[in-house]
Amino acid sequence: MAAPVDSVGKPSAERSPFNSTSFQKKTRSKLISIPGTRPSVQNGQLLVSTGVTSLDYLLGGGLAVGTVLLIEEDRYDSYSRMILKYFLAEGVVCRHELFVAAAQDNPDDILQELPAPILDDVAIHKPVDQPRLSCEPQDSLDAMKIAWRYQNLPKVQSALASTSRFGHYYDVSKTMEPEIRQAAKCHRFYLPEHPTQSSTTHSPMIESYSALLKSLQEVIHREGFDIAASMPKSRNILRVGLHSLGSALWGDDLSCHDNPRHSHALTTFLYGLRALLRSSLAVAVVTVPSHLIQDRALMGSITRLCDNAIALESFKGSERETNPLYKDYHGLLHVHQVPHLNCLASQLPDHKDLAFKLKRKQFTIEVCRQGYSVQSNCLSRKLSIHPFHNVTDCNPSSEKPVCTFVCYWVTKSKVKLLIVLCWCQSYYSVTFRGNRV
């Protein structure tokens, strides 16, 4: 019972207008407490949410700060763009700073399309003079018939809610309101606005990537996201969203030619990006149009250079669209890489056949159930089957199932029955687990 003794008797004037109770959680943790993050249960890394709760679960709780998530785009770049928008929207809701870079669309357009959060418990930062709803007493009396005593209490919960809640839900059919979006600080990098000067040094990275990396480094240094920076004020996380790296609009011919001339441009950039992120409080999500990249070895090295890597394969336009197995889903999700950060073994996802579905209020990732065959033996459905080999031969000519041989073992935890059925040339052993009677 951690009742904070120090908050007892706190005068009401000091209380912030958003607080509805005077309870404050006592934090004794040594980790820096940044809103929107939490330490991982597995290895203590600081995690941020990707905005999609099922993706957080797949990645082992969330994205570790200082890592890169690679999303291999689906064919028409619809779902990967959606995940990027979820990631940025989560940053706005958690009050992180954003850095968006794109070559095809203006980052402002991407930011205007962010989905609206489902605002049960997100504090809306409207400047409120008094913590009351400014409505007439007449209206307020009619508003609630039974719970009328609570009418005048503010409907917005305290800011504490956003720190304790990890991962929010978004409504895709609505866009985020401009007030919420403008409250977050966004840095933009739109490639056509940056004139590329040909570099004198013979570096494997092309000019657009160099300019991007330089811009990111400058933002990190200027805003104080370096871990080594000695800023005493509260720390924040920088969320970096890089759209469609490796596409032709970045000046890279990785996706155009089978043997690209700039084969090491993107890999050098990712190496530099990861080094930059490791020494700062930032997370990056990078989308790459891997369906255009023909060199699979290069794609493999790009995957290895990022910490997390997932690939989206949408069913649109492929023959799987009409497959009844996949009718509930919009595409398949493949996890190509999970990170091992400060540990020897990484947390692999249990299942390999994952499928995703974009619903209005949620992006769900589920195991794609292959479906049981309809003609399965009802016996096999109800009991656990262990094929058991050392039994006497059964007589195949008899027609009725005859239980010829039953023996049982009683051990400490279970009673094991061996039932041999004659009409089928297989044996089933039945295990009953439970208490010994």
Partner: protein
């Protein structure tokens, strides 16, 4: 869908007609030019592959000042010093200058015959960049390009089609004069729709769609899950009739005060729900809270 596309691409649209050696897409391209001419639009054609005479065959020649043909057929690489359009002039500034100097107030449609020619002499990233800039800028209203898919690597074709708002892939059909068109259309909201149609082109360049389009349309977001009515299929009645509902609303709830008492109560005690807690000796106020490291 093909007829809708023929009626005019939206502004800022980039249409790619992909063909191969087995079935040429130039007739469909000419149908698009013809349809645009019938709509009284200005058209600029960059002709790399066929001469002006050959391309002009069958087109509506009622208003020749609306169709501007830039001859890139006779000397595309600029070997002689004639003033023709060369492939090196395919960049944003030159094209904008070209379009602006010859067209009137309305932005024109740019037709490129063909993109393959340009892609062979300029690097694909540069071509993609120019196309994207043309799409975004206001100089041209729409771009229609012909691309020979079997002349390039898969990645190049994919990169160019990735930029396009609509892609029509023509393939030979069952009968001689028929062709199959596979259309992928991307709308501004991100929805992608796919259609497959059989069409044929008459001598006057009108397109006749033979079969019903078989489209596979997919919305990106699901329609809102249908609300299951919980009061249906029950053995007892949970629904209310009108009289019952009125009686329910008229029912006086216990502890309901009159309006005056409510306002009095509301305005006097505002937000004074304080919890005063003083732990005494009997309370187990644990220094080490085991709930602290719960991952909830």
């Amino acid at each position: 869908m093909l007829s809708e596309l023929l009626q005019g691409t939206d502004t800022g649209g980039f249409l790619v007609i992909q063909d191969s050696s087995s079935c040429t897409g130039r007739h469909l391209l000419k149908s698009f030019i013809n349809a645009a001419l019938n709509r009284e639009e200005n058209i600029h054609v960059l002709g790399f592959e066929v001469s002006e005479e050959e391309l002009g065959e069958g087109l509506n020649t009622s208003a020749p000042q609306r169709l501007h043909f830039h001859n890139a057929y006779s000397d595309p690489l600029g070997w002689t010093d004639h003033l023709t359009f060369t492939v090196h002039q395919f960049c944003l500034d030159e094209l904008t200058h070209l379009v602006k100097q010859t067209s009137q107030s309305k932005p024109a449609t740019l037709v490129i015959d063909s993109l393959s020619w340009i892609l062979r002499h300029q690097s694909p990233p540069a071509v993609c960049k120019t196309l994207q800039q043309l799409k975004r800028g206001g100089a041209v209203r729409a771009i229609i390009g012909l691309l020979h898919a079997d002349m390039h690597q898969k990645g190049t074709v994919g990169s160019v089609c990735h930029l396009a708002t609509s892609v029509i892939t023509v393939a030979p059909g069952m009968k001689g004069d028929e062709a199959v068109a596979k259309i992928t259309k991307r709308s501004k909201s991100g929805k992608v729709m796919q259609y497959e149609e059989i069409f044929s082109i008459k001598d006057d360049l009108t397109v006749i769609v033979q079969s019903k389009p078989s489209h596979l349309e997919h919305k990106q977001t699901d329609p809102e899950e249908q609300q299951m009515d919980p009061t249906a299929h029950l053995t007892f009645n949970l629904r209310l009739s009108d009289t019952e509902r009125k009686a329910k609303e008229k029912l006086a709830l216990p502890f309901v005060f009159s309006k005056e008492k409510k306002t009095a109560l509301l305005h006097s005690g505002q937000g004074s729900g304080r919890i005063l807690y003083e732990p005494d000796a009997n309370d187990d106020y644990d220094q080490e809270d085991p709930d602290d490291d719960l991952d909830v």
